[in-house]
């Protein structure tokens, strides 16, 4: 097993309030890592730091061969270029889907490859068709986001991210905005990707999913990584008091 994500002593604060206080962890290839913790503990911030949507104050993030590091003396332009290269390797799925409402499901999945990777339309089309089939939306190719249910939208968003052929997928509470009856269809896709060997990092409140599917659990509280380890260990015998208090509310 080799390490694909390496996070080193990450610090981030908004104004005076510290959101991340020296977070470090590694993710191995093909692992599904679940980040859990109480609201406002910095889970989403941590995830967004991984693809540069948030810039951290100090520390280092390495994904594959690309290292983000604020004091490496890169020019603004070079830094942005590196950021884009990193984002090409990392797919992101949002709590609120953020599908492009003016494009159909197909077009949503075709846009980035065509614009960023200059893939020709036919190739982009066949890839999009394939991926939408994979997430179970073969019959919704030409639907606009507003014509899709929440679960369908989130699956289309996953297909859109996959179209860039990322090495890593990040999910920021992907099922929190969904009707409970629709949660499972999204989690199933993530299970399927896990089976295929995709490296995934998921911020989630679906504890059952985390326990059943995750290879590793990270518990975040107050901007610190208070506990990490195998799901069985974390869920059955958490060592930190805060983890116990948090899990009691969910299980």
């Amino acid at each position: 097993m080799s390490t694909i994500i390496s996070v080193n002593n990450l610090h981030k604060s908004y104004g005076g309030a510290a959101a991340l206080r020296g977070v470090s962890f590694d993710v191995e290839v093909s692992e599904l890592t679940a980040i859990i913790g109480p609201s406002g503990c910095g889970k989403s911030t941590l995830l967004r730091c991984l693809n540069g949507l948030e810039l951290f104050d100090s520390g280092r993030v390495r994904i594959g061969e690309i290292t983000l590091d604020l004091d490496n003396g890169l020019s603004h332009r070079d830094f942005n270029a590196r950021l884009r290269r990193l984002r090409e390797e990392v797919g992101m799925v949002f709590q609120s889907f953020n599908l492009f409402p003016h494009l159909t499901a197909m077009e949503n999945a075709m846009l980035a490859p065509m614009v960023v990777k200059k893939v020709d339309r036919r190739k982009a089309e066949s890839t999009a068709r394939e991926l939408l089939a994979k997430v179970g939306l073969s019959d919704r190719l030409d639907y606009y986001p507003s014509q899709l249910s929440g679960g369908q939208q989130q699956r289309a968003a996953i297909a859109r991210a996959l179209a860039m052929e990322p090495k890593v997928m990040l999910y920021d509470e992907p099922t929190s905005a969904l009707d409970p009856s629709l949660v499972e269809e999204v989690l199933n896709i993530m299970r399927k990707l896990d089976d295929e060997g995709m490296t995934q990092v998921v911020v989630t409140h679906e504890m059952r999913f985390a326990r059943d599917v995750a290879d590793k659990i990270l518990v975040l509280a107050d901007g610190e990584l208070i506990e990490s380890g195998l799901p069985d260990v974390i869920f059955s015998s958490p060592s930190d008091e805060r983890t116990r208090a948090f899990l009691r509310r969910y299980l």
């Binding site: 003016h102 846009l111 614009v115």
Partner: protein, 629 residues
């Protein structure tokens, strides 16, 4: 039509008269020409006494003369008998002087000598003038909205411009062997338009004044007249300028009449853009008197039975043809042609045809023949505006409005509006993006642009673009200037629309695009702007309709569009209501398809299709909820 100081007027008059009286030797052509103007003693004598008799029996009585002005400048015409005698004597003397050259000089005052020399020089320069090539048209500018008898659309065929100045310029053109071509231009902008090179001569009742002479050269005067006072038919207390104290008096904006009224003091002066409105208000009782250039009064006040003329005409003014300073050659030719026209009596025939041959011009041309009859055109015109129309005739007339409105006005309005809006949308989008995303100095500039163009009047912007920019070497055609002007002005509003639209797109959209590896520019282009565009369709449609109507302002930079055509028709037929309703209807009907189109596009492009709620559902409070599936 426009005021000048009293002293100026006197000087001009003397310059013209003086030169006539003092032909130089060694210039046979000039002497000939001048002799045409310079009556011999007997003739003058006869002419003056004739005129005196005429005046005594004239419908314009000598009573109530404003002697201040008349003694000063009008000189002999309405002046006291003593003054008349002095005048006659002087005429006699200079007449002799012309015959006996050796004695000529002592008979001249320094002032008249200077003017005589000037005029002499002017005439001398006519001699070497060569006939210009006949192919090049003689382009001249005027404002057909000014109305009868100067320039107006032909009531029988509104697409044709007629007027005594058209006849004059046709005659001049014929003399120069060049085709006379009329160019429409807002009256206020005639001289700037001349300097821009829109045309080579400006002819539209432009009074020769010193301040204008700073900017352009004038031909010899082609017409002279005074100001005429009109009152309601039953009014007996007002008979002269002196009776106007404390009264409400209307006149044309920025005219000599306005200056006279203001100078008189104690008069409540109301200035109008349009002669019809002033006379209408007089008939309605909003005004107690109206003072206007005599030819205008003859056409717009005299035929109205509710109004009457009082007093003789006041002051003196002369109309000249304006040419650019550098076009001395052309001016020489024009002067030559005018002299020839005066001499042959052709010009007088034109004025008689239009019923505006008057004492002043008679005097200006130094009395070629006797009293005039109202011309045929004048009679037709007055019949036209005084006639009571039957419904059938009225409908016929409205029908005749349609071709100029629909064939000239409407297409131009449409063209300007559509092009202007296209420019506004492009500018607006660019400025909004710069404002939101560009680094500091650029975004400040964008902001400055919006504030500047939104905060200043479109009218002034248009003037600056059309008349101001040529000073720095940017000369735009009227159409381009109109489109650029409207585009820049509305661009500022569109920029704000787009800024609002872009800011209304949820942040998650940009984040999603960025996290897919797009650059900021790519995200804007493919994700943000397309959504913002759909969002701003309603406000942009709104602005388009506003621009559509605002396009009427471009008539100030010589564009003939719908409102301009309306103005011309209204002043020709004396019909503001019928033509106005018709024009408004055309604006409305032309705007309608665009509103419909915008609705349709908006509906088609709606990003959230489920949220297209019918009015009925909205009324019952049933919103559209995305169906979970």
């Amino acid at each position: 039509m426009i005021e000048i100081s009293a002293r100026e007027r006197g000087r001009q008059h003397r310059a013209w008269g003086g030169a006539q009286r003092n032909p130089r030797k060694g210039a046979p052509k000039i002497i000939q020409a001048c002799e045409a103007g310079d009556r011999d003693v007997a003739n003058t004598n006869c002419y003056e006494s004739q005129r005196n008799q005429l005046l005594a029996t004239s419908c314009r009585p000598l009573r109530g003369l404003d002697t201040l002005y008349h003694n000063q400048f009008l000189g002999f015409r309405y002046a006291s008998p003593q003054a008349l005698c002095r005048r006659l004597l002087r005429r006699l003397k200079t007449g002799c002087a012309a015959q006996k050259k050796s004695q000529a000089m002592p008979g001249l005052t320094v002032g008249s000598l200077r003017h005589a020399l000037l005029f002499f020089a002017l005439l001398c320069s006519v001699l070497p003038a060569k006939a210009q090539s006949g192919d090049q048209p003689l382009r001249w500018g005027g404002d057909a909205e000014g109305g009868a008898p100067y320039l107006l659309p032909n009531p029988k065929n509104p697409r044709e411009i007629i007027g005594f100045e058209v006849d004059l310029m046709d005659a001049v053109g014929k003399r120069l062997n060049r085709k006379s071509v009329f160019t429409q231009n807002q009256w206020d902008g005639l001289i700037p338009g001349l300097q821009r090179g829109n045309y080579d001569l400006a002819v539209n009742g432009i009074e020769i004044t010193d301040d204008r002479k700073q900017q352009v050269n004038f031909s010899i005067p082609y017409y002279a007249c005074g100001e005429q006072l009109s009152v309601r038919a039953g009014e007996n207390s007002i008979n002269s300028l002196a009776d106007l104290k404390g009264k409400v008096v209307g006149t044309l904006k920025a005219s000599l009449a306005q200056r006279i009224l203001e100078r008189a003091g104690g008069i409540d002066v109301r200035s109008y853009e349009n002669q019809n409105n002033a006379y209408d208000d007089l008939a309605l009782g909003r005004l107690q008197a109206v003072l206007m250039d005599w030819p205008i009064a003859v056409y717009y006040s005299k035929p109205n039975p509710k109004l009457k003329f009082v007093g003789p005409s006041i002051e003196w003014m002369e109309y000249g043809i304006a040419a650019r300073k550098e076009d001395t050659e052309l001016l020489k030719q024009v002067n030559d042609a005018l002299l020839a026209l005066i001499k042959s009596g052709e010009l007088r025939r034109i004025y008689e045809k239009w019923g505006i041959w008057n004492g002043e011009t008679d005097q200006l041309f130094a009395g070629i023949s006797s009293a005039s009859q109202p011309g045929q055109v004048y009679q037709e015109f007055t019949q036209n505006i005084t006639k009571k129309l039957t419904w059938r005739e009225r409908l016929e007339r409205y029908k005749s409005y349609l071709p100029p409105l629909l064939l000239i006005g409407a297409p131009m309005t449409l063209l300007i509006s559509v092009l202007g809006m296209a420019v506004a949308i492009v500018i607006g989008l660019a400025v909004a993006l710069i404002y939101l995303y560009a680094p500091r100095p650029a975004s400040w500039l964008a902001r400055g642009y919006v504030e500047l163009f939104r905060g200043t009047p479109l009218l002034i912007q248009l003037y600056l673009i059309f008349y101001g920019l040529p000073n720095v070497g940017v000369k735009l055609s009227p159409l381009v200037a109109a489109v650029v002007g409207l585009g820049l002005n509305y661009g500022a509003y569109e920029a704000e629309n787009y800024r609002a639209g872009i800011e209304a797109i949820p942040r998650g959209q940009m984040e999603a695009a960025l996290s897919l590896g797009m650059t900021r520019a790519q995200s804007l282009r493919h994700v943000i702007v397309p959504q913002a565009m759909r969002l701003v369709i309603p406000p942009v449609t709104n602005d388009f309709i506003a621009l559509f109507k605002d396009s009427s302002i471009v008539s100030v930079i010589t564009m003939v569009e719908l409102t301009k055509v309306y103005g011309q028709l209204a002043s020709t037929y004396y019909d503001y209501i019928g033509a106005g309703v018709l024009t408004a209807a055309i604006y409305f009907l032309m705007g309608l398809p665009f509103v419909r189109l915008a609705r349709w596009v908006e509906k088609r492009l709606a990003t959230d299709r489920r949220v297209v709620v019918t009015a009925k559902r909205r009324r019952f409070g049933v919103g559209a909820k995305p169906v979970e599936g």
